[in-house]
Assembly symmetry: D2
Amino acid sequence: MKLSIYTMGGTIDKIYFDDLSTYEVGEPQAGEILKEAKAAVEFTLREVTRKDSLHLTAEDRALLRSLIEADPARHVLVTHGTDTMAETAEALRGIPGKVIVFTGALSPARFKGSDAPFNVGCAVGAAQGLTEGVYLCMNGLVFQAGKVRKNREAGRFEAQG
Amino acid sequence: MKLSIYTMGGTIDKIYFDDLSTYEVGEPQAGEILKEAKAAVEFTLREVTRKDSLHLTAEDRALLRSLIEADPARHVLVTHGTDTMAETAEALRGIPGKVIVFTGALSPARFKGSDAPFNVGCAVGAAQGLTEGVYLCMNGLVFQAGKVRKNREAGRFEAQG
Amino acid sequence: MKLSIYTMGGTIDKIYFDDLSTYEVGEPQAGEILKEAKAAVEFTLREVTRKDSLHLTAEDRALLRSLIEADPARHVLVTHGTDTMAETAEALRGIPGKVIVFTGALSPARFKGSDAPFNVGCAVGAAQGLTEGVYLCMNGLVFQAGKVRKNREAGRFEAQG
Amino acid sequence: MKLSIYTMGGTIDKIYFDDLSTYEVGEPQAGEILKEAKAAVEFTLREVTRKDSLHLTAEDRALLRSLIEADPARHVLVTHGTDTMAETAEALRGIPGKVIVFTGALSPARFKGSDAPFNVGCAVGAAQGLTEGVYLCMNGLVFQAGKVRKNREAGRFEAQG
């Protein structure tokens, strides 16, 4: 499997600046996670945006779609903020010949006990078994795009529709 | 997805005892990993053996097979030492109606930067996309039972056969 | 040594809320750090404030001083945000019969690779060797209150005066 | 403070080899711990032995003593296995003009939740407050050489004598 990774930002990539007393979205963590996990997956990684997903625009989503459409790889991983992950996944439906899996994290990858390594693992594993389509992997579950929402109160993703 | 987890021991579960200056296989870590990753997967966990996989016997493998055969769950995760994981996976072939995924770790789950959370995530994600059969998830790759070996020198799993 | 710990908040105690995409000062971490480090130090812990140290007031500092003055313990540890740690330390000078050591962290204790466990260790170790007075332990160095400042640009504490 | 660090090996430096299913003493971790903690302490580090402390010989201890005697630094940190740390500390008594502090760990520095960063912090902090002599910092407590033992059953150090 050759994997194309696109990163949009979000909690998974958040870092903390003591001098500003604030978090910001930092460099993409997916590559570090694969390296730390000794993954032998051949991959390329392209940072598309570095944004909290609430700030993503229609243009950002169109850019992501056009990049993936132009990419010869069958397997695509997108790391993304959790708030609008379901929306961006829907915006990628209908690209033929692709298994596209979204993931992200509820806790920054740089935190102890973050869900990020598990989630990226889950997405990479799912991609190898799934048929064409757009999917989300969060909370250990694989959802189809269009049939999932983030339950903000409960802090987890769940099936809908 | 309802997931049945069976644990055999191995590096993933290894702990260190300072008073003995030695390690031993400890309690199964798969449940802790799922909990830490905020996984919403419904699962049961049964510890079958607590062994370095070089010490597993034909009886241990027969016991694992009989437990899985008697288990109504379609999705099965087995955590296992890496040295004979491929062998045990082969011993489970031919059970109808099951997606059985093996994983483990090259570094104990209790180590910083262990591959265990990623690997368990990978196995859980793969299980949801794969068709019936027996598989191994290691190094971010999904292998079919009978077509994989551990390359001890390189410290990773690779396709064979 | 009986150690009285007072916590004021600050980066050391910061947590992240994915549903708010923001951090806040959370529960005091000093006790958890001592527990995780298998410290056999007898201690009490009292949370005085849960604030970013830029928001501490003269009243907060007066309250901290009065609590320590009324405390029979000789050894006192204060965890505190880094921005005004030096200022609060100065405000505690002149309490007789006390070894008061301030510490905190440049990276939240819940982050991988946080300086928090080292810093709390440093403060606890220093407290056992120092004579009466008020001190800061940051960046592995012990400073006297009134002779230290935070260099925000460099992200570290340094001697001054 | 200029700090001279000597490393003897022990649990603090243990690593795990999956291909051997064993732990061994690896590279000294004290320097990494100081770096990760953003310590601004000026230090040199010399690896003297890389041994489980049960295997240290009288020659190893004589070598350590001669190195420290020849070292102009006033502040010395020794990282050491826990089983015979108290014995080696005693073997260093009587070197004039030195504050020598031993530490180590009950859990390898590479483990999550290891006591190593806290312990090294404790030793570095203590060194700056203590007067001449040889000390042990373990479990958050500072002991004088000759007045401490490891309680193997309880897995901690305690005063004696």
